[in-house]
Amino acid sequence: MTSQELWSLALGRLDVDALDFLKAFYAPSENDDILSGAAWVVILGAVTVVALLTIFRAWRPLFRDWLTSVDHKKIGVMYIVLAMVMLVRGVLEGVVMRAQQADGLTGGFLSANHFGQLFSTHGTIMVLFMAMPFLTGLINIVVPLQIGARDVSFPMLNSVSLGFTTAGAALIMISLVIGEFSTGGWTAYPPYTGRVFQPGVGPDYWLWAVILSGVGSTLTGINFVVTIYKERAPGMGFMQMPMFTWTALCTAIMMIFAMPAVTVSSAMLVLDRYLGFHFFTNDLGGNMMNYANIFWLFGHPEVYILVLPAFGVYSEVASTFSGKRLYGYGSLVAATMVIALLSFTVWLHHFFTMGQSADVNAAFGIATMLIGVPTGVKIYDWMATLFRGRIRFTVPVIYLLAFMMLFVLGGLTGILLANPAVDFQVHNTLFLVAHFHNMLIPGVLFGLFAGYTYWFPKIFGFRLNEVWGRIAAFNWIAGFMLAFFPLYVVGAMGMTRRTMAYAEPAFQIWFHIAGVGAALLTAGLASLCVQLWVSIRNREQTRDIGGDPWDGRTLEWATPSPVPEYNFAVIPRVHSREAFASAKAAGAGYPEPASYADIDLPGPTWTGLVMAIFGTTLGFGLIWYMWWLAALSFAVIAVTLIGRAIRGDRHPRVIPAAEVAAEHRAWLARIRALPAAPRTQERSPANRGMAAPEYRDLRP
């Protein structure tokens, strides 16, 4: 055996050229310096994390308390940490693209290939590895608390989902250091992503990252549908569920039905690329329209998977911070379900221009416009909730107001695009890019930020800093408007998307304005980091001792902050919608149970961690043709899952009733000693998490 054969047996198609971080040394150019720089950031980031963990001797607690935990709140926090890391990368990539296009009249500083990788990773990350983990994290943290449950139905499966999602994200990070990413956009349309046009590893990174995280999300969907169906506290019918739980339910159902589609389109593309099948090739009878149809059967529902939980957050925020019950609960529930249903009927609007008949286009155009109706209902419901409320101008409310105005604008441009005749003009231009960022940033991202700010004290026991929160919010809002409104203009003028340079001088000024917006967005990102730092440092001034810092209305606020791992000392019986608000109004917000019982909790498990590590190596092996690594990883995953299925949970724990009673009584005693804060002092240190009784709208 020659050494070359040995090399390819062990390392597949990996070679020294694939190592991006060395490029700056032997091929220095502006483009490669940026590429290498990014790779070094990833490497140094990883090294720093390892060093910090070692210095602070945090490895053992990290494994014991977090990575092997199946507590839904900790899993939720880990999802959000992952999302934040990916958010940083996603935003910075967006900013680099904005800078490139601001400089685009003279060609800019990036190579076309690098620009292609940037929009591909940016789009993939933002949708699948930022927004998805973020909302999954919020759902994880909040839903079991809102429905009065101990945990999700399948705690171990929950950590497996997290493991697969993390593995997908890890592959995308690795692509920055070793090899390259696809240049086929977040949609990865073949035949361009087939092996004729891109024989390298790029599309394979995309494929395995998407498949792994898709499996994770399908499992999450299953887990939460069962949780919401089966774990609701006694007395909580469907129409007593908090609005966020309703949106989580619809999102989870959509995950079950939409994620398999992207698994199928990706699996077929894998067969094309690895085994020479002809599902989507140009020659021998492949048909790329099948890819477009299957992908968007996932893709369109996906955007509603993203936005529905954000709608849920906005519903909670609107009623809590205006001190009123949610207006039009029934219509909001109906609208959510109608949106979930309709979202499966409009996928074709993503390719109006691809040759079907005008009648087909018209049908899908009308279906698309119909979605505007339930969405409009929601906007009116939120406005009516705020109407005549005593609105407190907190950070989540700032996001809510920005959302209500900007989202309507984005929705209107969506109605424009739903008209096939208009779409033929602006299809594939920056007009479209402006439209979907107009939905995704104010709609999804701001909602996620609002939820993060709103529920942060519940998990960590202190509130986030208000001043830095506002600075961040205003940077994001102004930055968004400056960065994306100009794109409507250049898009309508004919500037195509996914294009790094242009020859039309009239475009330039708009790109310069967008560049300023990108700078503000960067400032917004930085402010979020500062906010977290300042909040941790000054946490004594924002302690949430009582567990109810915002005069909350739903059950999660009836627990201590941070929430004990068993959530509720005794499972509550629910008598009404907005149960906690009603209880407080009746002067019974903090009842003492007559008796306590032992609490069974699932034990820690390594399964999720095994999925994360070996899921990553499985993908890596497949991408680089290291077949031994892929086979080994697959075997480890299979044996772990089967072993766990056979043996079940071997370390379940029981928390004795006496311990629960002692903790709960101690908390009740602390609460009685707490001064109640009126809403005027909500943002001051006087707010210790105990709300003073005030005007509350409780008409049945």
Partner: protein, 207 residues
């Protein structure tokens, strides 16, 4: 009633919480099968769109390569196995003893293996006559859809083996019973899918 509505919530419930509740696992499994059904539907739809001359691309079409005989035997084996699994489920449900349940499950396993053997032979024949997936879009769709079902049956066979080992060593415990209930669902589900394949690919293709 009205003063209860005013209290919002209370602590007088006597909920039962079990982490390994079989009812939940069955619900979860139904949902999993729904998502699996989507996967199969999309492969079916792809197959249907690839029956065109463009996708056959001058290669062999269904009439040139498919044979009803072997598919009919496969159908017979799989349908019988779903019946014998039903008998095993009845034996478990009515407590007719471990021997009877395991007996029927062993028959099911054997029939599953017969099915896989026949399908393997069928695809080996396709390889032999050059009807490989690399030849055309139509053949890719065929090789995507039918072996996908075969892979599922393989997974079912492995699962069934594990279940038999568990039953042999632990007896018909609650865990084993719950596992058997889920596997039964899966097995019957695969049978339904096969009926789809037999009708669309074989009967439809040869008609």
């Amino acid at each position: 009633m009205s003063d209860i509505a005013q209290t919002g919530f209370s602590f007088d419930a006597t909920p039962t919480m079990h982490n390994d509740d079989p009812g939940k696992a069955i619900s979860g499994f139904w949902l999993f099968m729904m998502s699996d059904l989507i996967i199969f539907s999309l492969f079916f739809a792809t197959y249907a769109t690839m029956l065109t001359p463009m996708s056959i691309a001058g290669g062999p079409g269904p009439k040139d390569i498919l044979e009803l005989r072997s598919a009919a035997f496969e159908t017979g084996a799989l349908l019988t196995s779903t019946f014998t699994f039903g008998l095993a489920s009845l034996a478990i449900a009515h407590g007719r003893g471990r021997a009877q349940a395991m007996g029927w499950l062993l028959v099911t396993l054997a029939l599953g293996l017969v099915f896989l053997g026949l399908e393997g032979r069928e695809f080996a024949r396709l390889l032999d006559i050059g009807a490989v997936p690399q030849r055309s879009g139509y053949l890719s769709a065929l090789w995507g859809l039918v072996p996908l079902h075969g892979l599922h049956v393989t997974a079912g066979v492995i699962w069934l083996t594990i279940l038999l080992v568990q039953m042999g060593t632990q007896g018909v415990t609650g865990r084993v019973r719950a596992g058997a209930a889920r596997l039964a669902l899966f097995w019957h589900f695969l049978d339904l899918i096969w009926i789809g394949i037999f009708s669309v690919v074989y009967l439809g293709g040869l008609a």
